[in-house]
């Protein structure tokens, strides 16, 4: 029988999840605790984590989003040198001038540290079971939102603007059937890859339901 149609061989995309090859993943992907995109982080623990839960992705805002406060910090650090040209503290005795400059640098240090803490600890965590959004609104207010993977109804990737296009970061809006209807991952790197990982996790959850597996 002659062949009527021969389809073109299309390469199959490899799934991004490497749940059965975690030790190989560690060798393949470099790991830094200061990274904004941590895929299968070597060390990851957080409050409310189940013992059997596996952390797949830890996301922070893209480092470029810190540029604003970094520029301000540099300006604050160099501000006292302006006093040589504009001696606005000349009316103060020398000891008060010294304490004023030291106090200025202390406040600058606190500003830099607070902004770093805000970037470092405001994370989004994707495990094999849930999606977490950890928000430290300020130093004394914390909000943690989580939703099960199988409750995700819709994932929208929003990437717009020249800077976001150049540095490949964007927002991911996750619609859920949970009490919190929406979880937003703001300014995360590689949003398309994150959406793909979420898609694969949802498929795996559906597969687990069909097969009757708990985990």
């Amino acid at each position: 029988m002659p062949d009527i149609y021969i389809s073109e061989h299309k390469p199959v995309k490899k799934p991004l999840l490497h749940v059965t090859h975690k030790h190989k993943v560690h060798k393949k992907y470099p790991y830094s605790p200061l990274a904004a995109f941590m895929y299968y982080p070597r060390k990851a623990d957080f409050v409310n984590k189940d013992p059997e839960e596996e952390v797949i992705l830890i996301l922070r805002r893209h480092p470029i989003t810190n540029l604003g406060w970094i520029i301000v910090s540099i300006a604050l650090l160099f501000a006292p040198s302006v006093l040589k040209f504009f001696p606005i503290l000349a009316f103060l005795p020398e000891n008060f001038q010294l304490i004023s400059v030291i106090g200025w640098y202390m406040i600058t240090t606190a500003f830099i540290f607070e902004n770093f803490l805000s970037w470092y600890f405001n994370v989004n965590i994707i495990t094999d079971e849930r999606v977490f959004d950890v928000d430290f609104v300020n130093l004394i207010y914390r909000e943690i939102t989580d939703a099960n993977i199988d409750q995700i109804q819709d994932v929208t990737v929003r990437l717009g603007g020249a800077v976001r296009a150049v540095f490949n970061y964007g927002d991911i809006i996750i619609q859920t059937a949970a009490e919190i209807p929406q979880i937003e991952l703001q300014a995360v790197p590689k949003p398309d890859r994150v959406a793909r990982i979420l898609r694969e996790l949802r498929v795996e959850e559906e597969q687990e339901k069909i097969e009757g597996r708990v985990r």
Binding site: K43, I99, F121
Partner: protein
Amino acid sequence: MLASSATVWSVAKIFALFGLGVYIIFAFVIVRQVAIMVKTLEVGFELPIRLISLAHLLFAIGIFIFALMVL
């Protein structure tokens, strides 16, 4: 005249020390909050962050003591 000038700087010293004292409280709040943050999330960089917060608090206390002596 000299007495009033000394009084003005004495008052200024009290205000400066009060401000530095409030800053010490702020630095202590940062230390406590870093402890809470570290408990919330651990990815391997917690020790340097804790050390920085403690160093910041100690520095604030040191500046207060220095201001007490110098001003």
